[in-house]
Amino acid sequence: MSIAISQDTTTVWFYACNVNDVPQNGGVCVKYDEVQIALFRFARREAWYATQNLCPHRQQMALSRGMTGTHNGEPKIACPFHKKTFSLEDGRCISDDTECSLTTYPVKVEGDKVYIGIAQEA
């Protein structure tokens, strides 16, 4: 089964911050209206990821303050509260199969500006 997003939705890119606003190998929280998005930068590979800021485990707005890393090469984020880890690629919880997954967002960098993509109904 596949979800046909691209046909019914378009991606709106909003400006989040400048590249240097984000710590080299860490995250920040970006406000998009009432939504809180965690934005992560892996400076060693200049890779960027974005997920919901809310950790689904205890419903805490904390993931942006978590620690980034890799698990068998897959980028992940560890929540500062109880160290649950989530894949930054698909949002699934790596450390606990029963935990909910994170919403992920696309990120693009143009010059020194970082944009996060939000899917919107066409």
Binding site: N25, H71, P80
Partner: protein, 839 residues
């Protein structure tokens, strides 16, 4: 071929397990009749039923296991008749089964002495799960419980009564002392003393003449005309072999019970075997599980050989060592080999500590070469090793007392250890698994304890051999040249200690550099904080600079403790717990201004909760202005040095404990370590500062200070151990310098000093040698390194407050600075706020 087994206890189950392993599948039909309603369960650990284990937990195998192995199991259906001429058995429910081989494993029942009144309500026996269920129903209305029998089973039953909540429990023993068959007089005395301390009342030399009461018992009367009121009685005075069916079938039995068997465990009918507690071999009934298992092995081999084309080596039962180790109500009791070796042919070595309730006696040959047997009360850790030393006639060290006490001083080893045992030494006596079996399993690639348990079955019964099995695993792997590496995670193939040295030698100052030189990938939440901590311990640089901020644990990254809801708590340093009223006022003003919940901590400081991330630099600006510093409550670092008021005010105080605590706290403030560090200074032996529960604690003496190390509270409390006594202040600090640096250099990540010491080879003796006698020749270096850290100390909050770039990072939204997280919610409680409950 058809094998019928009468009885389904532990030995019956073991026989099933062994016979199906020894004969090809589908060559024999196996039928088991059991009297109890459930399959065989672990009777050895029966008392755990009251400690919370369910009947299912105690099962050795489920009914499904029998079915899966094609074993027909008839439960609640005892065999009532054996027709030897037609070779059939007939059960209570009318089943008739023919057999080629019949195995009787009917076990034993409780021996109930013929005392008038034992049929009254409130009198129980202690044998089956059903007995336990009856006791459980009755116990709530009983205030005082009594057990008749001061042997193994009696003490087990007494434990059961305590577990049932009957704190007033008495044990009645006919003999002049407890466990007369297993241990000697001194051993009995120490055991009795220990059990009394645990709240058991013990009455020896008591001959019960009557259970008093009408329908329901009210007490016991004894032959000496004394009387003991009680409303519940458990009789556990011995066992009686279940030989009635054998008798009925014309098989020969002993005068005092038991089915007579030969060395193949055959009864007087060679096609009928008897095993376990119903069998009488050479005049002995074996009331332990291990000999029963050995009997099961002998019979299974014997039967399998008669149907196999390639018979295995013949096995016979030649008696069994009755060595045993138990924990009776929390007291270790063990006897092994010949515990009562006569004085003509042996010498004995006795160790007795009446304060700790420890008694150990070993008997050795007159020439001092071999161990014959012994008794251990109160501390039986050495049991397995001693048992194997005796059984295998291992040559004793030149000072045989070393096997009992360990080598004391000097360089001599206390015996060769488990690796020095011969290959046929039995390590797991329940399952009779030899050292050779375990070592070859390890060599075949089973390199974890769980894997060894699974493939050899060692350590699956009583678990007493667990430490030896673990030693054999590591020993065998080392012998194969396998270095058991203790690596950090997938990104760093080094231990913490190795990384500490590498980072020091290469002068590594950032996580990225460490990753470039020694790591792979991007790091993770395991290695990042460890490297950050090592660098902090080595260099004491500002932890948020050089890109190291994001490798700090979350609390270190924001220099505050994250709490429920995502706000932070703030703990200013209050050295020694001493604070002026003016500073108290500042804390109150800050708390009011930023709406913080305040609470006094266990370490004599004040914790301010509920601060928004964005407010932290402002809060600290005000605190620093008033002369406060970071308390490092967020770090794996020195937290607090607690103190009592000491000689300045206290009429008992010997020295000024507050001043010394402040001096020490200011010396080590900000010191980062593998785990948090706590300390305290007490002004006299009354120890009001609780220094003996700290990583390092100091207590004033008439002549100076006593220094204790490696204690901690927390989930596994451990008392600190005296490192040195009557020190002057300067020496005391030098020893602390050396101790802390040595810990920082060598401990695994997140290991408190107590756990570190527990794992340190040589323990406190070794640590004393390093710290006091400078046995490694590093004392000067350790002191120098500590002095560098002390000299480099800066308050990290002061650095943040004064640095606009660093301040900027304390913001919830990167694109809306100054906007606090709108999802944070508080509730109110006792005139203050609290974090809203999370989901």
């Amino acid at each position: 071929m058809k094998i019928v087994i009468i009885g389904n206890g532990m030995v019956s189950y073991k026989f099933c397990e062994k016979i199906i392993a020894k004969i090809p599948a589908n060559t024999a039909e196996i039928v088991v009749f059991g009297e109890e309603p459930r399959p065989a369960y672990d009777r050895v650990h029966l008392s755990e039923f009251f400690a919370g284990k369910s009947a299912d937990d105690l099962l050795l195998a489920s009914a499904a296991w029998y079915a899966a192995n094609n074993i027909t199991l008839h439960l609640g259906d005892p065999v009532q008749q054996i027709d030897r001429s037609n070779k059939t058995v007939h059960s209570y429910r009318g089943i008739t089964e023919a057999y080629d081989y019949l195995v009787i494993a009917t076990g034993s029942s409780a021996f109930v002495p013929p005392i008038p009144g034992v049929d009254k309500k409130g009198v129980f026996i202690y044998r089956t799960i059903e007995d336990l269920e009856l006791m459980q129903d009755y116990a709530p209305r009983a205030k005082r419980g009594v057990v008749i029998g001061g042997g193994l089973l009696g003490l087990e039953a007494a434990k059961a009564l305590l577990d049932l909540g009957i704190s007033d429990t008495h044990v009645i023993e006919f003999a002049p002392r407890l466990m007369p068959r297993q241990i000697d007089e001194n051993g009995s005395r120490i055991l009795e003393q220990q059990l009394k301390q645990l709240g058991l009342q013990i009455h020896t030399n008591k001959n019960t003449s009557e259970v008093t009461g009408d329908d329901t018992m009210t007490g016991l009367r004894f032959a000496d005309e004394t009387h003991l009121e009680a409303d519940m009685l458990v009789i556990s005075a011995g066992i009686k072999p279940r030989d009635e069916l054998a008798k009925l079938s014309g098989l020969e039995t002993g005068h005092r019970g038991g089915i007579i068997v030969n060395e193949h465990l055959q009864t007087t009918d060679p096609e009928i075997y008897a095993i376990g507690e119903c069998a009488l071999h050479n005049g002995m009934i074996y009331g332990l599980v291990a000999p029963g298992y050995e009997m099961a092995e002998v019979v299974a081999t014997h039967i399998a050989n008669q149907v196999s084309s390639s018979p295995a080596a013949k096995k016979t039962f030649t008696g069994f060592d009755m060595s045993t180790k138990l924990k009776l109500i929390g007291v270790d009791v063990a006897s092994f080999g010949d515990p009562f070796a006569p004085v003509e042919t042996s010498r004995s070595i006795v160790f007795e500590d009446t304060m700790k309730g420890v008694y150990k006696r070993i008997s050795i040959t007159n020439d001092g070469k071999h161990l014959l047997g012994g008794i251990l009360i109160g501390d039986a850790d050495a049991y397995n090793m001693l048992l194997q030393t005796a059984k295998n006639k291992v040559i004793l060290p030149p000072n045989p007392e070393d096997v009992l006490l360990g080598a004391r001083g000097g360089s001599q080893d206390a015996g060769p250890g488990v690796l020095g045992l011969p290959d046929d030494a039995i390590i797991c006596s329940c399952e009779s698994i030899s050292k050779g079996d375990i070592c070859s399993a390890v060599e075949a690639g089973n390199e974890t304890f769980d894997a060894i348990k699974k493939c050899t079955k060692a350590a699956t019964c009583c678990g007493g051999c667990t430490p030896m099995v673990k030693d054999l695993i590591t020993g065998t792997m080392k012998a194969q040249g396998k270095y058991i590496r203790n690596v950090l995670c997938e990104h760093f193939a080094y231990s913490r200690q190795e990384l500490y040295d590498l980072i020091r030698i290469k002068n590594v100052r950032s996580f990225d550099e460490a990753l470039d030189h020694y790591g792979a990938g991007d790091g993770c939440e395991v290695c990042k904080p460890v490297i950050a901590s090592i660098m902090a311990s080595l260099w004491n640089d500002m932890i948020l600079e050089k890109g190291n901020d994001t490798v700090q644990d979350s609390n270190d990254r924001f220099l505050a403790n994250i709490q429920k809801g995502g706000t932070y708590s703030v703990v200013p340093r209050i050295p020694g717990g001493e604070i002026t009223p003016a500073k108290l006022l500042v804390i109150a003003q800050v708390a009011l201004k930023y709406n913080l919940y305040t609470k006094i901590t266990g370490g004599q400081r004040i914790d301010l909760f509920g601060a928004h991330l964005d407010d932290l630099p402002n809060i600290w600006e005000e605190l620093i202005e008033a002369g406060f510093e970071s308390g490092h409550a967020y770090g794996k670092a020195l937290r607090t040095v607690k103190s009592c008021v000491g000689s300045t005010w206290c009429r008992f105080g010997l020295h000024d404990s507050v001043s010394f605590a402040i001096q020490i706290e200011e010396r080590y403030r900000g010191l980062r370590a593998p785990h948090k560090l706590k300390s305290a200074v007490s002004g006299c032996i009354r120890e009001c500062a609780e220094a003996q529960s700290k990583d390092f604690g100091i207590i004033a003496t008439e002549k100076g200070w006593n220094l204790y190390v490696c204690g901690n509270g927390g989930s596994k409390p451990q008392h600190a151990i005296l490192l040195a006594s009557d020190l002057d202040s300067e020496t005391c600090i030098r020893y602390i310098d050396r101790f802390l640096m040595f810990y920082i250099k060598t401990a695994d990540p997140l290991t408190r000093t107590a756990t570190w010491l527990n794992k340190l080879e040589g323990g406190i003796t070794y640590l004393k040698n390093v710290v006091i006698n400078d046995s490694l020749g590093i004392a000067v270096e350790l002191e120098k390194e500590m002095q560098q850290l002390v000299d480099r100390y800066k308050c990290e909050w002061k650095e943040v407050v004064e640095n606009p770039e660093l301040r900027k990072r304390f913001s919830h939204f990167i694109n809306a600075p100054g906007t606090k997280d709108p999802t944070v919610r508080f509730d109110s409680l006792r005139d203050q706020k609290k974090a809203a409950e999370w989901k």
